[in-house]
Symmetry: C2
Subunit: 447 residues, 2 copies
């Protein structure tokens, strides 16, 4: 039992945090998080997962006030939150709060941008709400991770719905009681069983969390009552959905440490365990070696790599994500492991198939999960080696702003064209200064 | 562990059940269930819970194709499922599957009628889908009750979403794989923590279950993939949301016994534990005794009655539901314990307050939960006694069709007028024969 008013404390924190008061590092990270999310949502927008959801749900959409990013369709803001949330997750390329494996932006940013299209919102209020929503989401995640995830809940959505509710509730200027109700209405709509992984329903989770969170805030704003102790009550969210609960993770040092500062971004469009090996291959490629002249690629990797991604002969783009051999070969030949390297075209490319048959991988239990060793032996007996201690994208070696921009271009320029893509990058970095946060949504569609 | 393909079996049953093949008793009970649900939804439609939900969500509604029962507003079918589901539960007056305490119609009928307004549906297909949806809902409930409820889940909505998905999936003519996906999309959206009881969010649960279930079926129909083993998988619904699981309750004797045959209907708008005492008071009232001449009312009741409804001096309509003393007095004076007896007007009525102060209640542990004894002593020393062995509305003494009609009139005639009310009763009994199931929705609003 715990008699701390956890829900009230976090609700009051979100409500009362001073406008424009975020520390500069937090503010900057919120912009990075947003840029990364926007690229993922635009990049994912042409996936059939989004096509199908649109076909099923557009007939029920309200006024076309909000944009489906990367596409020509528009819809009401609640559906936009769902659809953009789905799109942002289809490539598994979105941000990661490593401690909880939450992908924080999907639920929160999807709800916020859609809401900003419904109701005029300044960039400054938007960035505040984004950071505060992610704070709520990740702190609630911290309180129940790993038990909640181990039971089988997809924590991105089950914690994300709180973040979306808090963020939209902040923009709606809810008082503490109504903010608590919004969190209650969020708590009672937990989306996401891990059983759905490997199906389109996985991407449904962050989208529905965004939509449910926005719904919760809208209802609470009008006076729809709910529990004011939904997180910590005896029959509340944490007791029902987790076997472990550490409420101090939610309430301690609020405003002092910020979860968004430990948000990370993936440079490669596949599981994080293969990133060190890909990083090593890309670094060696910069030495101008000729892929055709490679005799053998030898990888030393963390034990999880072969357990999760040991597929020798992938045949589909999706299978390519589960093959460290394909990832190494594609990185060496094409110089990237982005969305284009996980397509049927790439996994069946004869040059890549040929090189991947010359990739060996060996477990080295002494390696950390973000480390790898890569050794390349050329036909002429020359050898190239690199040791990766912390892969790019890890907390110790975060992607730079320029690398995030490059990732954004890779995801969106084919869809939006170079000009819009560059304009969006500029807008995203200055989002906190604009009078109209929704403009970026209007510009994130084909001309 | 269990290797039975539970989800596939129930999906296939719903898909393959012969059109128009329901046993006559099942078909008739489906009509009774529908009539009862319709009255509750119309009767609840003026509650502020519905006002607030409408105010919050109508701005996001799509084309006004579906009716908010009992009101002038219209909205898209997904929102209608939500709003009518909320309205049908606000009085706690809806049907009860006693074994699981599921209120079956809320999620299933709310989804079906809204869907029928979106897509032409015959009455026969509607009645089949209603019975099949309730079958899925209550069997899944049987498999996890009481553990799932004891943990804290509001089983009406957590099981109801499967019923709504199955019922709409049936109307969409899904094949077994897509029906399984629909159940998967339902499983991953479980609404309803019991912590919300006592707030407006309780009524949100069956409404959201209806809306989520319809969404699940619509997505699956377009090919949105999901797990095909969502109920029984290792990280599926039953393992994550319950500590007990008896899958045979879902798969055994499908089409042989029908859960809807054990559906019950409340004659009184309060908790079922007080029903035997109210029943006794109403029976004695029929002896034409003068309430003003009563000296003392002595009740003998099941122990739960005083534990749950022992409030001596209620001040609000809601508090009246938790006072067996008020219920007895109101039944004796006004001849009913309907919605009107749980208003501030009634609980503060001087004659009722005076009589309630002369009601005594005593526990008798030998009584079953649907039994009571009522003894009335008049000022002239005359005594009247009745022994209720099975209260009206119990499985052993179900409400008659005529009593269900009277309940419907009590709930809807003030809102719709007598003429519409009588027309709806006729339409409801013949729902299975109509070409256009949606007509009843169009007529269930003020003229």
């Amino acid at each position: 039992m715990n008699d701390t008013a956890v829900t009230r404390i976090i609700a009051d924190f979100v409500r009362a945090y001073p406008a424009g008061g975020l520390p500069e590092a937090v503010r900057h990270e919120a912009h990075r998080t947003f840029l990364n999310w926007l690229g993922c949502a635009v990049g994912g927008s042409r996936d059939e997962t989004v096509d199908i959801a649109l076909a099923a749900l557009l007939p029920f959409s309200g006024a076309p006030e909000a944009h489906v990013l990367g596409r020509r369709e528009r819809c009401d803001a609640l559906h936009a939150a769902l659809l953009n949330g789905i799109a942002s997750h289809v490539f598994d390329f979105d941000d990661t709060h490593l401690r909880t494996v939450i992908h924080p932006a999907g639920p929160v940013a999807s709800a916020l941008l859609a809401f900003a299209e419904h109701c005029p919102t300044t960039g400054s209020a938007f960035i505040d709400a984004l950071a505060l929503g992610i704070e709520v989401e990740c702190r609630i995640g911290n309180a129940v991770f790993p038990e909640h995830y181990d039971i089988g809940w997809h924590i991105t959505a089950t914690a994300g719905v709180f973040g979306a509710a808090a963020a939209v509730g902040r923009l709606l200027d809810l008082d503490t009681e109504r903010m608590s109700w919004a969190l209650g209405l969020a708590a009672t709509q937990p989306v996401g069983l891990r059983e759905m992984f490997g199906t389109m329903t996985k991407s449904f989770h962050p989208g529905r969390a965004a939509q449910n969170g926005m719904t919760a805030a809208l209802l609470a704003a009008r006076g729809y009552t709910s529990s004011i102790a939904a997180i910590e009550a005896k029959r509340g969210w944490a007791n029902i959905l987790s076997t472990g609960r550490r409420y101090a993770e939610i309430t301690d040092n609020l405003g002092g440490d910020w979860q968004i500062l430990s948000n990370t971004y993936k440079p490669f469009a596949c599981g994080i365990v293969i990133h060190p090996a890909i990083d090593g291959c890309l670094q060696l490629r910069q030495r101008d070696l000729d892929p055709g002249a490679i005799e053998r690629v030898s990888l030393k990797v963390h034990p999880l790599v072969l357990e999760l991604t040991g597929k020798r002969d992938p045949q589909t783009g999706l299978e390519g994500k589960f093959s460290v051999f394909h990832c190494a070969a594609a990185a060496l030949i094409e110089g990237d492991a982005g969305v284009k390297q996980f397509t049927e075209r790439c996994v069946r490319d004869p040059a890549i198939v040929s090189l991947r048959n010359r990739v060996e991988a060996e477990i080295d239990p002494s390696l950390d999960s973000d480390a790898a060793r890569v050794e390349i032996r050329m036909r002429d007996r020359a050898e190239h080696r690199v040791a990766i201690e912390h892969a790019i994208g890890s907390l110790a070696r975060p992607m730079t702003d320029a690398q995030l921009e490059a990732k954004f271009r890779g995801l969106s320029s084919d869809i939006l064209g170079v000009e819009r893509c560059e304009s969006l990058i500029r807008q995203a970095w200055h989002l906190g200064d604009t009078d109209d946060a929704a403009r970026i949504a209007r510009d994130a569609v084909p001309a």
